[in-house]
C-alpha cells in the first residue's frame, strides 16, 4: 500500500519537474548557460494565474494566459539584457540570471506577501484504480505534462523550426551558414522556456500552495534532472525526472522528508562527477 502511494507521488513529482527541467535543458543546450531564473518563472507563472483567477477566469484559461505572458516576459528580458552579452562567454548570462532571480522572486513577494495562498479549486474525491489512489488533479497534471512534452518533442523533431533549433544547438556556425537565423531561434527558445516553466509552476502550485519560494525550493532537483537528462534533450529530461522523482520519494523510507532537496543535491554532484554528459547522450 505504502509502495503504491509513493509510486504515484513520485510520478506526479516527475511530471511537475519535467517541464521546467526541459526549459533549463533547452536553454543550456542552445544558449549554453545554466539559467537560474527558470524556477522564478515558475513562481511568476503561478502567481499570474492566481491574479487572473481573480477576474473569474477558469483555472485552465488563467493558467494558459499566464504561461503565455510568462513566456513573453522571458523573451523580453532576453532581448533587453541577455542579448547583449551573447558573445561574452558563460559567466555574464549566469550572473544576469541570478540578478533576474532576485528581481522576480521579490516582485512576487512585494505583490503578494510571504504567506501561502491557494488556487480556487475544490477538493475532489480521488479515483482508486487497482489499489492506486490518484486525485483528479494529479491525473490531470500527468496527462497535461505528457501532452506538452510530446508536443515539444514532436515540434523539435519534425518541424522546420525544430530542426533549426536542433541545428543551432549542435553547431551554431554551421547552422548560420545553412541559413538559420540564430536570434530567432534564441527568442523562440526563451519564450518556450518561460512558457514551460510557468506551466510547471502552476501545476506545482495546484498540488501544493503558492509561496514566493515555490520555484526556488525546486531549483536543485531541477538542475539535477536537467543535467542527468543530458542537457538539450527533452526526452532525457523527462526520463531523468522520473528517476529523480522515484529516488527522492523512496528515500522517504530511510530519510526525513525535509532532506528531499539535499538528496537531489547529492544526485546532482554525483552525476557531475561520474557522468557529466547525462543519461541520454544528447545528439550534439
Amino acid at each position: 500500500m505504502e509502495f503504491k502511494i509513493y509510486l504515484i507521488s513520485a510520478l506526479v513529482m516527475a511530471a511537475i519537474w519535467s517541464l521546467p527541467a526541459a526549459a533549463i535543458s533547452l536553454i543550456y543546450g542552445v544558449l549554453r548557460y545554466p539559467n537560474f531564473a527558470i524556477p522564478e518563472f515558475m513562481t511568476l507563472g503561478a502567481y499570474l494565474t492566481l491574479l487572473l483567477c481573480g477576474f473569474s477566469l477558469p483555472l485552465w484559461a488563467a493558467g494558459l494566459l499566464a504561461a503565455v505572458v510568462t513566456g513573453l516576459i522571458a523573451l523580453a528580458v532576453d532581448q533587453t539584457a541577455f542579448r547583449f552579452v551573447r558573445k561574452a562567454g558563460i559567466l555574464p548570462p549566469v550572473l544576469l540570471s541570478l540578478g533576474l532571480m532576485l528581481v522576480l522572486q521579490n516582485f512576487v513577494r512585494f505583490g503578494w506577501g510571504n504567506g501561502n495562498l491557494q488556487f480556487p479549486i475544490l477538493p475532489m474525491r480521488p479515483f482508486i484504480i487497482a489499489g492506486f489512489i490518484i486525485t483528479p488533479v494529479q491525473a490531470a497534471i500527468i496527462g497535461l505534462v505528457v501532452v506538452i512534452l510530446a508536443g515539444v518533442f514532436l515540434g523539435l523533431r519534425y518541424t522546420e523550426f525544430g530542426r533549426a533549433v536542433r541545428a543551432t544547438s549542435t553547431n551554431p556556425e554551421l547552422a548560420i551558414v545553412t541559413g538559420v537565423q540564430p536570434e530567432r531561434v534564441y527568442g523562440a527558445v526563451l519564450f518556450a522556456a518561460g512558457f514551460l516553466a510557468a506551466v510547471g509552476g502552476i501545476v506545482l502550485a495546484t498540488e501544493t500552495s503558492l509561496n514566493p519560494l515555490l520555484g526556488w525550493r525546486v531549483l536543485i532537483p531541477l538542475f539535477a534532472v536537467a543535467i542527468l537528462g543530458g542537457l538539450g534533450s527533452v526526452v532525457g529530461a523527462a526520463l531523468a525526472a522520473v528517476l529523480v522523482g522515484l529516488t527522492s520519494e523512496f528515500s522517504l523510507f530511510i530519510l526525513p522528508s525535509s532532506y528531499k532537496t539535499a538528496l537531489a543535491f547529492l544526485v546532482l554532484t554525483l552525476v557531475l562527477l561520474v557522468r557529466p554528459s547525462g543519461l541520454v547522450k544528447s545528439r550534439s
Partner: protein, 288 residues
C-alpha cells in the same frame, strides 16, 4: 545618525571579509563560486555555538575561520576539473544544502529558531559596545587585507593568476593546478567564515533564513564592481554595496507607505537590478 553610520561601517566590514575571500577564488584564480554564503554560514554557526559554550572570542573566531576553510577545501577537492558552469551550479547547490542542514538539524543549531544570545567581545574601556565592535572589526579587516595583499604579490598569487589565464601553462611548468585551486578555495572560504563569525557576534542572533543566496549575490556584485582583481577595489566596492543596501534598510523609519516585508522585497529587487546593470556595463560588447 552616528549609530546608523557605525552600523553601516560594521556591515561593510563584515561583507568585506566575504568579498575579499571571493576575490581570491574568483578575481584572482578565476574559479566561480555562487555559494560563498555557505562558508559564511559555517563560520557564523561555528562561532555562535563555540562562544555560547564559553570559548574565548579570539579562539572561537580562529576555529570558525579554520572550519570554513576546511569546508572550502573539501568543495574544491570534490570538484576537480569541473567546468565553469558546473562549478556555478554545484556551489549554488552546496550553499542551499548547508542552509537545509542548518534548518533541519535541530540538535546541531536550533533548526529554524537559530541561535540566540551570541556574545560580543568585551568593550574597550570608555567606549560603547558598538564603537568597540567597529574597532575590532576594522583591525581584523586590516589584517585580512594585509594578508590578501601578500597573497596577490607573492608567488602563490602569480600562480593563481596564471591558472585564471591558462591552466595548461601552469601544469606545463610542473605545478599541480588542483593543489593551487584547493588553496584558493580554502583561503576564500576561510575569509568568508571569518566574516560569518563577526556577523554572528554583531547581531547576537542568527537563523538559517539569514543565509539565503542573496548574501552570495551581495558579494558577487561587490567583487564584480571592483573589476575582479585588486583587494583595494574589492573593499571599496563592498563598502559601496553595503552603504546602498544597509543604508536603504534605515529608510524603514521614514517610509511609511510600505510595510516591512514590502520594503525588504524592494531592497532585494534593487540588488537584483543593480547586479543586472553591473553585468551589462562590465561585459558590454566591445569591452575586452
Amino acid at each position: 545618525m552616528i549609530d546608523y553610520l557605525i552600523a553601516i561601517l560594521i556591515f561593510a566590514g563584515i561583507y568585506g571579509f566575504v568579498a575579499l575571500g571571493l576575490n581570491i577564488q574568483w578575481g584572482l584564480t578565476g574559479l566561480i563560486n555562487l555559494g560563498q554564503v555557505a562558508f559564511f554560514a559555517v563560520g557564523a554557526y561555528t562561532f555562535a555555538l563555540l562562544s555560547k559554550a564559553g570559548v574565548p572570542f579570539l579562539l572561537a573566531v580562529a576555529v570558525a575561520t579554520t572550519l570554513s576553510g576546511v569546508f572550502g577545501a573539501a568543495v574544491a577537492m570534490f570538484t576537480p576539473r569541473l567546468r565553469e558552469d558546473y562549478l556555478a551550479i554545484v556551489t549554488l547547490g552546496f550553499s542551499e544544502f548547508v542552509r537545509l542542514v542548518l534548518l533541519n538539524e535541530k540538535w546541531l543549531a536550533g533548526g529554524p529558531d537559530g541561535v540566540a544570545g551570541v556574545p560580543r567581545p568585551a568593550s574597550f574601556p570608555g567606549l560603547g559596545s558598538e564603537t568597540s565592535f567597529l574597532i575590532v572589526t576594522a583591525l581584523a579587516l586590516a589584517f585580512a587585507f594585509w594578508f590578501t595583499r601578500r597573497i596577490e604579490r607573492y608567488p602563490i598569487g602569480r600562480t593563481l593568476k596564471a591558472i585564471r589565464e591558462d591552466e595548461g601553462v601552469v601544469t606545463s611548468v610542473g605545478k599541480v593546478a588542483l593543489a593551487y585551486k584547493t588553496k584558493a578555495f580554502l583561503l576564500g572560504a576561510a575569509l568568508a567564515g571569518l566574516g560569518g563569525a563577526f556577523f554572528a557576534s554583531y547581531l547576537s542572533y542568527i537563523s538559517p533564513d539569514m543565509f539565503g543566496p542573496n548574501v552570495s549575490i551581495y558579494v558577487l556584485a561587490a567583487v564584480l564592481i571592483g573589476a575582479q582583481g585588486s583587494s583595494v577595489a574589492t573593499l571599496l566596492s563592498t563598502a559601496l554595496v553595503a552603504a546602498l543596501l544597509e543604508g536603504t534598510r534605515l529608510l524603514k523609519d521614514y517610509i511609511t507607505f510600505v510595510d516591512g516585508v514590502e520594503l525588504a522585497a524592494l531592497r532585494l529587487m534593487v540588488l537584483g537590478l543593480a547586479l543586472i546593470a553591473i553585468v551589462m556595463v562590465r561585459y558590454r560588447p566591445g569591452r575586452p
